[in-house]
Amino acid sequence: MNTDKLQFTVPPKAKMASFILMAIGLISIIAMFMMDTNEDPEYNHNRAWSNIFSSAFFFMGISLAAAFFLGLQYAAEAGWATTIKRVMEAVTMYLPWGLSFLMLFFIVSQLHLNHFYVWMDPTVAEHDPIVASKMGYFGAFWWIRTVLYMIAWIWFTFKLRKNSIDADKLDIDVNNSYHWKNVKLGAWFMVVFGVTSSTSAWDWLLSIDIHWFSTLYGWYAFSGMWISAMVTITMLIVWLKKLGYLDFVTESTVHDMGKWMFAISFLWTYLYFSQFMLIWYSDIPEEVIYFQTRWESYKALMWTVLFVNFAFPMVMLMSRDSKRNFFFLIFVGTIILVGHFLDVIMMVMPGTVGHHWTGLSWMEFGTFFFFLGLFIYVVLNALTKAPLRVKNHPYINESLHHSI
């Protein structure tokens, strides 16, 4: 095996690309704040702020769900993905960055520099009895939860990574002690994540539409993160293989990642459809308002999201050959990734921008590019920090010989 290929160095072109993306993004963000105005005095750059939040949340979600998937591998005693563990770990390393941007955003919102969360404005509860009835859950309690999620997620992610790297430093890990540590950690992370993935979705996303509620919402938000993470990891593996790295990752492993992309696309669709259909069918005014706004002012986007995230991957990833074709995986993956970014836009914009929406524009993509550039930079940099193949891992042989 070509050992020098175990150490990744960021290709100058990729580094350049990430800087260019960030520069374009930064210019777009500045331009967006200057141009996103409205005759409504309450509007207050709503769309610009919503864009910042959507992109920051989308990329944070990718690394959070990657951490979930990594923990799941340990908890489920899965062996097939051992050769791609380092790629997953690198994706999780963006988590503190993603969470920092969200934290900054929340602080800015709390300082009333925007109208993103209406409940942050104390005057709203005075004349809105529904908001008033929920205030016990928001305010200080909301802040405590937000800080706790962030600490817990970062702690688990870093601990999983640290154990993995420490195991590499040993000549031979006789009792697989680091592996068993991560198994325990992974199981506990599943428990913590199982609760906080829902509650954080209520706190950060559901509360945008403060009057609206849906019990499925947390799982639906999570499924969107999960599929985005699977797509990102797959595309990263394919790209690294093209560069000549990861020659020890078998085609079967890539095929399995393709299956995950296919399967989680269905999971997302299942949850999206369940939520939509039940609300549409019962037609209760308090609930149906959510989709009514979307149907009236975001119809094209609503259909695009459903088509790109459901029909498209279903048709394109159905066959075995397509899941083993690198061009196909990159092509389908890029489109799905954009599709799920648009899904986040659909979760956010109708509640903040509402009927002022004028259709997708450079503002959405400009902001997206900034965070994409940063994400690429951070993840590729994290990839250089450790060998691409884990050394002392009890399942590494299973994964090296993985063949289906």
Binding site: W202, S214, L216, S274, S282, Y395, E398, H401
Partner: protein, 467 residues
């Protein structure tokens, strides 16, 4: 060639060879049945008969014989229907989803779990046919030409979707189960001596020859069926949940229902598989194939699905408060503190708290604890459906229509009867059909047999010392 890590526990204990596996699994079919089998069969058959009596009485006098009333127009009938359908889910999950996930441990339990699925669906079918009140008109559930009668079924109704979902599910499950049985029937055909037995198993085995081409087709069909059944695992119980969630009834209309019902179904299904397999393991002495590790894996599935159900319960409670909708809030207050509050707390204890005991390795590897907890979970999941249906219907929007509910002895009789029927069928199955998919099991012997694993470990150690 697949590699298997040394740290994985063996799935076949002792030093078995292919011949011994055949001998062990065919033993109940070739040998005389144990006394325990006859005792259990008699009990089950008598209960089944009692159920048939209650069922006949219901058909004779109408469903006025039940405890259902104007408020609780669904009660034990739909509770039992959903309970049985849910139990069936583990079979499909084990055979389809775990096949796609390449979980080798499924091979010890898939055959029995699939059989269980089919029997459970039959039990469920009894309640769903009977609850219409006039079962002789049940053909109206199917889309028939208009000349046949004046009414088309209402395609907007989730009750009709249920007819399609459950019948598709039953069909695919039977096909899946049968395809898996073919090589095993052939094995029995080649072993039995009596001519009528040879003929019988020969017919059942469809002329299986065991050639490479047969196996290749067998595996292909298994994968295709697994692909078809995986959506079914989700669709059936999602559609059952739509029966409730498409309504505007507080406590029923909630969007989390589909995935939460699916998870609950797998939860109860695994509990039932454990209850049955622990008995089968004991009666037929299958300790080498159904190891403690298998039990542990199943218990882990129970913790996971039970916790998902727990999160869903809490989500419902939270969102009821958060929504600010008084009706919604009252529905849950009524469940937790109303006249039937004991059933709510029975559900919470059995489904959310008790499975958490499996976090302790001592408990999840203990056979007695597992057996007891599996029954507790089954009880809890029955109460879950009861809590969703009865207390909710007893107190809807108009207090003047509020009512109370007590089941009649006919209700109880039919329910107990289906348990008897389920037991009878399962006992007959375990006597005449191979309870473990021996042909599939043999494919993992080289990697996961205890002796084989030890041998390959010694080999690789010797290898590394030579360097």
């Amino acid at each position: 060639m697949h590699a298997e890590s040394e740290i994985r526990d063996p799935l076949i204990l002792g030093s078995k060879n292919y011949r011994q596996i055949t001998d062990d699994i065919i033993a109940p079919i070739e040998g005389k049945a144990a006394k325990g089998w006859y005792v259990l069969l008699t009990i089950c058959a008598l209960t089944f008969l009692w159920g048939i009596g209650c069922l006949a009485y219901t058909i004779g006098v109408g469903i006025g014989a039940w405890g259902s009333n104007n408020a609780a127009d669904w009660a034990w009938d739909i509770t039992n229907f959903v309970w049985w359908i849910g139990i069936g889910h583990a079979g499909t999950l084990i055979s389809a989803v775990l096949l796609l996930f390449r979980q080798k441990w499924r091979m010890a339990i898939n055959r029995s779990a699939e059989a269980m699925t089919i029997f459970a669906v039959l039990c469920a079918a009894i309640f769903v046919t009977l609850h219409t009140g006039r079962p002789w008109l049940d053909y109206m559930l199917f889309p028939l030409p208009n000349q046949f009668g004046s009414l088309w079924p209402n395609f907007n109704s989730p009750l009709l979707w249920d007819v399609f979902a459950v019948s598709t599910y039953a069909t695919v499950s039977i096909v899946f189960w049968y395809i898996g049985l073919i090589p095993d029937f052939a094995m029995i055909r080649d072993r039995v001596i009596k001519p009528w037995q040879k003929k019988f198993y020969g017919l059942l085995s469809f002329g299986w020859g065991g050639s490479a081409r047969h196996w290749s087709r067998f595996e292909e069909v298994s994968l295709v069926l697994a692909g078809l059944s995986t959506p079914l695992v989700f669709s059936v119980h999602s559609i059952v949940s739509f029966d409730f969630a498409t309504s505007v009834v507080p406590g029923w209309h909630t969007t989390i229902f589909p995935p939460y019902f699916v998870s609950g179904a797998v939860f109860s299904g695994f509990a039932m598989v454990l209850t049955l397999m622990l008995v089968v393991r004991k009666i037929y002495k299958l300790e080498a194939y159904l190891t403690i590790k298998h039990i542990e894996y199943m218990n882990i599935v129970i913790i996971v699905t039970g916790s998902i159900v727990g999160v869903a319960y809490l989500t419902e409670l939270f969102i009821a408060w958060y929504s600010g909708v008084e009706w919604e809030q009252y529905a849950f207050l009524n469940r937790a503190t109303g006249p039937l509050a004991w059933s709510y707390w029975a559900m919470m204890t059995c489904n959310v708290i008790s499975p958490q005991l499996f976090w302790f390795k001592k408990i999840r590897t203990s056979i007695v604890a597992t057996f007891l907890l599996s029954i507790v979970v089954n009880i809890g999941m029955w109460f879950e459906r009861f809590v969703i249906i009865v207390p909710t219907l007893l107190r809807t929007f108009l207090p003047s229509t509020w009512n109370t509910y007590t089941p009649s002895f006919i209700d109880i009789g039919i329910f107990i009867g289906t348990i008897g029927m389920f037991g009878t069928f399962f006992l007959l199955f375990s006597r005449y059909f191979p309870v473990i998919a021996q042909a599939e099991l043999k494919t993992i012997l080289k990697q996961s047999g205890e002796a084989q694993k030890k041998e390959s470990a010694n080999h690789s150690h010797a290898h590394s010392h030579a360097h």
